[in-house]
Amino acid sequence: MSFLFRCEDIGKTYGGVVALKDVSIGLESGQVHGLIGPNGAGKSTFIDVVSGKTPGLGKVFFEDREITGIGPSAMRRMGISRSFQRTSIFPALTVRDQLELASHGAGGGHTGELVEMLGLGAVLETEAEEISYGQQRLVDLALALVGNPRVLLLDEPAAGLSSQESAAMAVHLEEIAERWNVAVLLVEHDMDVVFRVCKVLTVLASGRFLVQGAPADLRNNPAVIEAYFGSTA
């Protein structure tokens, strides 16, 4: 199978501790691929290494061209974008200012559609530190989406959101993948969101690949249950 975005044998060690070892994932356009696992499984580390935030091992390919180590800004301009586990926006800038910055950095894009889809129109002129946490998460998502990226690496976009906000986020993620044909890698703890939007799941445990498959197939997988709960009982 030909993937739009492919990561091979991604690894990371901190001192002598292996945080991630030989994890490979391929992403297809228009599909949300979930990356799940218990705390410490290496999910965020995977995104950090792949996106160039943290140096690590392995190779990254985009449209079958190796792009390992090209750096975050070059990846973004190429159409590979990411969000962060902790909200990463510009508190003192208005929502409009930061979307404009993102749009220019990524070479333009569907900013107006994004504002409409994410419901940010009412807070465009408000400084980001003045809006609610849920809206800040949406701004974070919008920053990653501006400029029509073709690959989106999302690190817990629903973290800290209420159940209602998480459900709305799931709707947004589905729409993003389908409407703009984006290949999405979703790291998320909220299983309602994961099982609703992901077509494929990769499960990590202790920094290693555990299993991959459709959500329905993995829901009752004994290995997955054991990884999460320590026992299949």
Partner: protein, 336 residues
């Protein structure tokens, strides 16, 4: 849905709002009245304060735009001052020479910015301290070029930038010139902040990692901000040399950098004009205290500590609080 406008214009800049224009007009009127009525000593104090305000503005610009604290801005100030003295000594055309001096300061600090671009916080501050002291020692030791500790006279030409050379050495002339330069720089910084590059610089200050992940390269921008800040300090140094007619290594000592930093902190970084206000407060407080007691250093230090503890955001934070209270009172009155 049509794209909401995502563009900026200078109209967004506070300096071009009616309130900003009124403040500028008031300052211009104040300077005009002072030149007509002020004593020579008063005018000289204000002229020096205006020159030092430009220095504080340069340090404040770096802190506000890049969140970088410099302990070495006496270096570009001194390079501007010594550069001016040297071009006059060697008969280089004055206007072109001053421009070349400022370009050299920009280029030097741009390269420095590229080299130290990844440094932030204490590491950056310590490096600027070391570099500042390097230049201080250099001008002290290079006697053949700078006359060392003896200092250099600055022979201002008979005509400079279309004005008689004397104008730069009289208190009223320099007060007007330094005030115009200061106002132009404050306006330029406000306008810069309204541009996309200005917003980007603020984005880098707030969250450089995210800016990188938005597709920007931040290294050039940070280097340009450092170089621009150093060039503003260089302008201050040029005016200092023209007015004083003499330069010596003391102007490149770290304690001068420290004073400029104190002025910037005292003024605060919530507004572009903060360091200017801080410089004026610092300068006149120092003059007043030094007339009262020979232990004015201690008294000034105690006052600065108290002010900094009471208002960590400096004069600009205080102004913000006062404005908020006034606005609140007005709203309350409107509601009655």
């Amino acid at each position: 849905m049509a794209n909401p406008s995502m563009t900026h214009s200078f109209r967004d800049s506070p300096v071009l709002r009616p309130s900003g224009l009124i403040v500028l007009a008031l300052v211009a009127a104040l300077v005009a009245i002072m030149t007509m009525t002020g004593s020579r000593i008063t005018l000289s104090l204000f002229a020096q304060a205006a020159i030092i305000s430009i220095m504080a503005l340069s340090v404040g610009f770096l802190a506000r735009t890049a969140d970088l604290i410099s302990f070495g801005h006496a270096a570009p100030f001194g390079l501007g001052a010594y550069g001016t003295a040297l071009i006059f000594r060697h008969g280089i055309p004055a206007e072109l020479g001053i421009l070349l001096v400022l370009l050299a300061v920009f280029a030097l600090f741009f390269v420095m910015g590229l080299v130290v671009g990844k440094l932030n916080g204490i590491a950056f501050s310590m490096l600027t301290l070391a570099l500042g002291q390097f230049f201080f020692v250099a001008v002290s030791k290079l006697r053949a070029i700078t006359s060392g500790a003896d200092g250099m006279n600055v022979s201002v030409p008979s005509s400079l930038f279309g004005l008689p050379g004397r104008t730069f050495q009289t208190p009223d002339g320099m007060l007007v010139i330094a005030s115009v330069v200061l106002a132009a720089l404050v306006i330029a910084i406000y306008l810069f902040e309204a541009t996309r590059t200005g917003r980007l610089a603020m984005g880098v200050r707030e969250n450089e990692e995210r800016v990188l992940f938005l597709g920007y390269r931040t290294k050039l921008l940070k280097a340009a901000v450092l170089a621009t800040s150093a060039t503003i300090a260089g302008v201050s140094g040029v005016l200092f040399a023209l007015y004083q007619g003499f330069v010596s290594p003391e102007i490149m000592h770290w304690s001068f950098s420290g004073n400029a930093l104190i002025m910037a902190i005292l003024g605060g970084s919530l507004a572009v004009w903060g360091p200017v206000a801080g410089a004026l407060v610092f300068f006149f407080l120092r003059e007043w205290l030094s007339d009262l007691t020979e232990h004015w250093h201690s008294v000034l230090g105690a006052i600065l500590i108290a002010v900094t503890v009471a208002w960590p955001g400096g004069v600009t934070a205080l102004a913000k609080v006062v404005r908020a209270r006034l606005t609140g009172r007005k709203q309350g009155e409107a509601g009655k």
